[in-house]
Amino acid sequence: MKIWQFSEQAYHPAFQKPGAMRVTLPQRECDPVVAGQLLNRYLDEYMIADDVGLNIMVNEHHAAATCMSTSCMTTLAVLARQTSKARLLALGIPLANRSNPLRVAEEIAMVDCLSGGRLEVGLVKGAAYELFMSNRQPTGFMDRFWEAHDLILAALSNTGDNFSWEGEHFHYRTASLWPRPIQQPHPPIWMTASSATSAREYGKRGYTCATFLSGAVARSVFSGYRAAYFAEHGVQPGQDKLAYLALVSCAGDRATAFARAEKMKSYFTTAARLDPQFRNPLGFNPVDANIRMLQAGANAMRPRLRNGEALPVDGTIEQYMEAGLFFVGTPDEVYEQLVTFHDETGGFGNLLMMAQAGELEHQETADNLTLMGREVAPRLAELATRTVEVRYEAVG
């Protein structure tokens, strides 16, 4: 298993303000000098990850105190030059927020060049509530997603003449990437899934499939992926095709690890702070999905505790651990917890690790990263060679 350090790069001083942390929080609440200090701090932590042999994942959000990275590629452009070994993952570039897919391809190519071919690229839909900032059309989004995807990949992998593109949604007289990417035909592509249905599509295409904070649901996501991959390619996918995102708090002793976990927990409580009318802009989710969501109730999508109950947003650290969203303890304990979760979900080759979240401070994050890189990562690397018994149950 490979480990990827990930931080949302929060402007955590805003967490004390009442009300929403996304969409409506006024920008006057942001002190830009403090924002700059925090952004540099998070970059320093990514460099520590590189030093201790971990890989790097960045994301982006818009109009949110919970995440100040507003462009994956801007953040990765810095890290491409300031790191030397880590693979650099953008997970992901939200195509719902991009009006110009050729521009997306240009930025991918440039960062791949800068990094010497260390870039990995997630193409994702994007958060529904961020349509209020991008103002992209909510309806018919998936058609535009796949056309943008086709164009981006065609541009990245083109070794022939420049081409023109007259699609249903995008129109270019000439597509020409200067520079073009080092990795050919293109950097590895990642996508994210929260159900077996979406994972199947990615399995068919052979892309790396990540699931975020989904707990036990990860098992059915991975199972759907494996089945579709096998049906299309005739072989089982390597574990490196599957990824799971969770929070990790590792410390020399258990009490310190739990104390740090408490500081990280505000990641969960602030992520949920959003006025309800922005959660689901009209026309973005398919009608059938909206009906199912309404009929199932608000808790249906929450991760589950072992007794089947929904994990409360303000749950305890122990509850978050039980649901598989948080791994907390000494290096030995975190290792054991990860091995157990790995085996329960049928195995995955990438841990997308939030070693910084919420209000966890720099020294604590540095210690967390160092312990994970030096003491846990080498043991987890051997997991890929273990045989996991995979039962293929029917999944929805």
Partner: protein, 271 residues
């Protein structure tokens, strides 16, 4: 077609109508001179009380717009400009030469688009709380952004009387699936046609001078969606139109004052 169970429309007949390959849910009621009714964001069912009153004077023809109710949608029909042409084709297909055309809110925009393309196609044109003109100028908004309001807040602001069915999340979740599906489809279609530019065609005001049919514009005095400035813009766009403002009515004049509105439409049409 899943339009069974619309008991509020039991005074007429719902059937399917294929217009150039798009299957519409199509409601017909009453007898008398032909009247085309174009519903608003609340769908065909949201204007049932008005249609019941109109059916006492007219033969009411009322489609669910593409993507609304149980009508098929099409990614190629994504501008209200497209709907203008689409409904002119539908009138040709039905052999309706010069019906009275009535549109409420979003449907008023649809009606205006039709008439800019065939200026005399309506015997009389009635626009009730019409949308379609530019809804804002840079930072100044003339029309409330329905996509930024909670379902509950929007439900309250649409009329001065009781909110429509499913205007709060609690009752919404308990609705039978076919009703829920209609509401979700109406929401999706509102977004499809009205997300951006918000509920408007920026060229509409350059074309409204073409409208030759006698026109009546009706507003609700308590409209919580459109501002006075926006009503003035419509007066400028249609300088020859009669304008009437109903007391005790909000944006959904047809829900607050169905009998009075129907009587006014009938009088305007000389019935």
């Amino acid at each position: 077609m899943q339009s069974q169970g619309l008991e509020e429309l039991s005074f007429g007949t719902v059937s399917a109508l294929d217009v150039l390959g798009t299957e519409l849910e199509f409601f017909v009621a009453g007898d008398g001179a032909p009247l085309l009714f174009l519903h608003g964001l609340d769908g065909l069912e949201g204007a049932a009380p008005l249609q019941r009153e109109l059916a006492k004077h007219f033969t009411v023809y009322a489609p669910s717009h593409p993507g609304f109710g149980a009508s098929a949608g099409s990614p190629r029909l994504n501008r209200v400009d497209d709907l203008g042409y689409f409904y002119l084709d539908m009138l040709d297909q039905l052999g309706l030469d010069r019906p009275v055309i009535v549109g409420t809110s979003f449907g008023g925009w649809v009606a205006a688009e039709m008439l800019t393309k065939e200026p005399g196609r309506a015997a009389q044109l009635v626009l009730v709380s019409p949308l379609g003109l530019p809804t804002a100028d840079r930072r100044e908004q003339y029309v409330a952004d329905i996509f930024m309001l909670s379902r509950q807040e929007l439900g309250k602001r649409m009329q001065v009387g009781e909110p429509a069915l499913g205007s709060d999340m609690k009752t919404l979740a308990t609705l039978p699936e076919d009703r829920l599906r209609r509401l979700m489809r109406n929401d999706e279609a509102a977004s499809h046609f009205g997300w951006s530019p918000y509920m408007s065609n920026h060229k509409l005001g350059d074309r409204t001078h073409r409208i030759a049919s006698p026109t009546l514009v009706v507003w609700g005095e308590g409209d919580g969606i459109v501002s006075a400035k926006y009503r003035d813009d419509w007066r400028t766009a249609l300088p020859r139109a009669e304008v009437e403002t109903f007391a005790d009515a909000g944006h959904r004049v047809h829900a607050d004052q169905p009998a009075r509105l129907a009587a006014r439409i009938a009088a305007f049409a000389g019935r």
